[in-house]
């Protein structure tokens, strides 16, 4: 698939945006400045970026508890995200949602989700609405290897297939559900094999290769737009950090982590772009610098923003 220079550079920017945004979060979490839980996406940037690059603004996504990457890849605003994660009134959800509950319906982001497997049924509903309204919009449901075992996920796969919904299931197989390795929670090696049970295509891709993810998801999106129903794309990847910040992560070995860090999706894509003369190394460095600046601005925005007033507590309970 021949991609325009603009798309390629956008992908590169997105991956770096996720990386730098999260590295900042890591720092501030360690400094005790962020309340609650933070689940980082570091190492998995190619999945969200590849998948969302195959979508338009009108297409929708359902995200997970590890949602920052999906949100940013779908166009989420750095400042509003940062402010939300810091619990400020200027954040996406006025400080009421936090890291696990950020949404932007204008961008088709139907929300990060604190319930593992919670997104499947929501994605069925969203894609059902597209079909019903004949809009041609597609929904992508992101879910983890752990989430793939939830009844809700299986129910969603089944319903989407039975109803031929414009839905693409993007599985982020990072090998673990918190401490539980995949081999202990399921007998199959490839989650994509489960697609057969629902009579839909099941594809395994290298989740650290942004172009491979993009191609597989684009193909599935095309099918979905043409009314041919859902697909299941399994992206093999790895999370660098513990399940959440503060997790000592004693359940996996350093060798495994090092092996995957050597497959860092960002330098890998950067080398490809430089080699293919889409970017010079200097331009690549400039992009990173400018994103670092944007992230710093987002932090400043968050920190300068006020905490929500307690008088706002009861707002928005009912429409």
């Amino acid at each position: 698939m021949a991609l325009s220079k603009k798309t390629l550079i956008h992908m590169y920017e997105t991956m770096n945006k996720i990386r730098l945004f999260e590295q900042k979060l890591q720092e501030f979490f360690a400094a005790g400045e962020i309340p609650g839980f933070v689940h980082l996406y570091l190492g998995e940037e190619a999945v969200a970026t590849g998948a969302c690059s195959a979508l338009t603004d009108a297409d929708m996504i359902t995200s997970t508890h590890r949602g920052h990457g999906h949100l940013l890849a779908k166009g989420g605003d750095l400042k509003l995200m940062m402010a939300e994660i810091f619990g400020r009134s200027t954040g996406y959800c006025k400080g009421k949602g936090g890291s696990m509950h950020i949404a932007d319906f204008d961008l088709g982001i139907l929300g990060a989700n604190g319930i593992v497997g919670g997104g499947g049924p929501l994605a069925v509903g969203a894609s059902l609405a597209s079909k019903y309204k004949q809009t041609k919009d597609v929904t992508v449901c992101f879910f983890g290897d752990g989430a793939s075992n939830q009844g809700t996920t299986q129910e969603a796969l089944n319903a989407a297939s039975a109803w031929k919904l414009p839905l693409v299931f993007v599985n982020e197989n990072n090998g673990y559900g918190i401490s539980c390795p995949q081999c202990k929670s399921m007998a199959v090696v490839d989650i994509a094999d489960r697609a057969a049970a629902y009579d839909m295509p099941g594809v395994v891709v290298d989740g650290n290769d942004v172009l491979a993810v993009y191609e597989a998801v684009s193909e599935a999106v095309k099918r979905a737009r043409n009314g041919e129903g859902p697909s299941l794309i399994e992206c093999k990847t790895y999370r660098w950090r513990g399940h959440f910040e503060g997790d000592a992560c004693t359940y996996r070995c350093t060798e495994e982590l090092e092996e995957w860090m050597a497959k860092d999706p960002i330098p890998r894509f950067e080398a490809k772009l430089v080699e293919g003369k889409t970017l010079t190394q200097k331009e690549a460095d400039k992009i990173k610098e400018s994103i670092a600046k944007e992230v710093a601005e987002a932090v400043a925005f968050a920190k300068e923003s006020p905490m929500p007033a307690t008088s706002a507590l009861m707002d928005d309970v009912y429409a």
């Binding site: 009421k96 319930i115 939830q150 009844g151």
Partner: protein, 327 residues
Amino acid sequence: MENTMSEKTYLQALNEALKLEMERDENVFILGEDVGQFGGCFGVTQGLFDQFGERRVMDTPITESTIVGAAAGAAAAGLRPVAELMFVDFIGVAMDQLFNQAAKMRFMFGGKTTVPMTLRMPQGAGIGAAAQHSQSLESWFMNIPGLKVVIPSTPYDAKGLLISAIRDDNPVVFLEHKLLYGVSGEVPDESYTIEIGKGEVKREGTDVTIVATSLMVHSALEAAERLKADGIDAEVVDPRCLQPLDKDIILDSVKKTHALVVAHEAVTFAGPGAEIAAMVAEEALDYLDAPVKRVGAPFCPVPFSPPLEQFYIPNADNIVEAVKSLR
């Protein structure tokens, strides 16, 4: 054998109860997400995997329906499972298995089976975990015939009640509060039980009864100390279980003090306080010198941002205010 006591946290007390019951009864086993080597989401099952192995401390896939349903099935088949959900908030995923299966099996099958399972679930706000990880849902479970609902406030109660829950032949919903895990107190090293359905007077007083559960027991005790300075002598009653509810301990206290405040972290509307207030109105209205007051959370989801979350959680100030409003 003489009972030895030592200072333990609520978390350690729970861990000890599990360990002692597993040593005592081969049929007791644990299942849940990350309960094995990892030691459980909040650390309650720590060390048990090393002692008892994976047959008796089972990591499950992330499937709450299966955790609850498998516990019910295993219980009906003769085991005594102790299942853990990481957060009470996830019970929605498994509600059918709890209220249509586990709670009803015995009744529906004409008493042909018992379902001796314990379902441990942490609840409560206060750690910035936001709307889907912070709720207090005890009133859901109180409303389901067939379940017992235990909600301990101290390390001593936690240990004795968990042992009783495991030995009970019914499905017991055991609600822990995240903010209590680190609270410590004197706990016997030996095994002991506390009767399910028996409350305790945590502080004696003559002027007003404060019925409180879980974390709110501690807020009520703090409130009682402050009220003392104003010349009000409050009695704090902890029912410890909501189903069955120790009506006598509440009625006896109200008959003595003639005033009632109920405090819990669940939302006030249709919360446990509604049941307790109605029960007192039905059975001891003539003893009341003032209307019953309820202290609970406002009717909104739990907010994320710290100032909002702190504002949301009922506290000693709210209880003091409620008591003073009776005058």
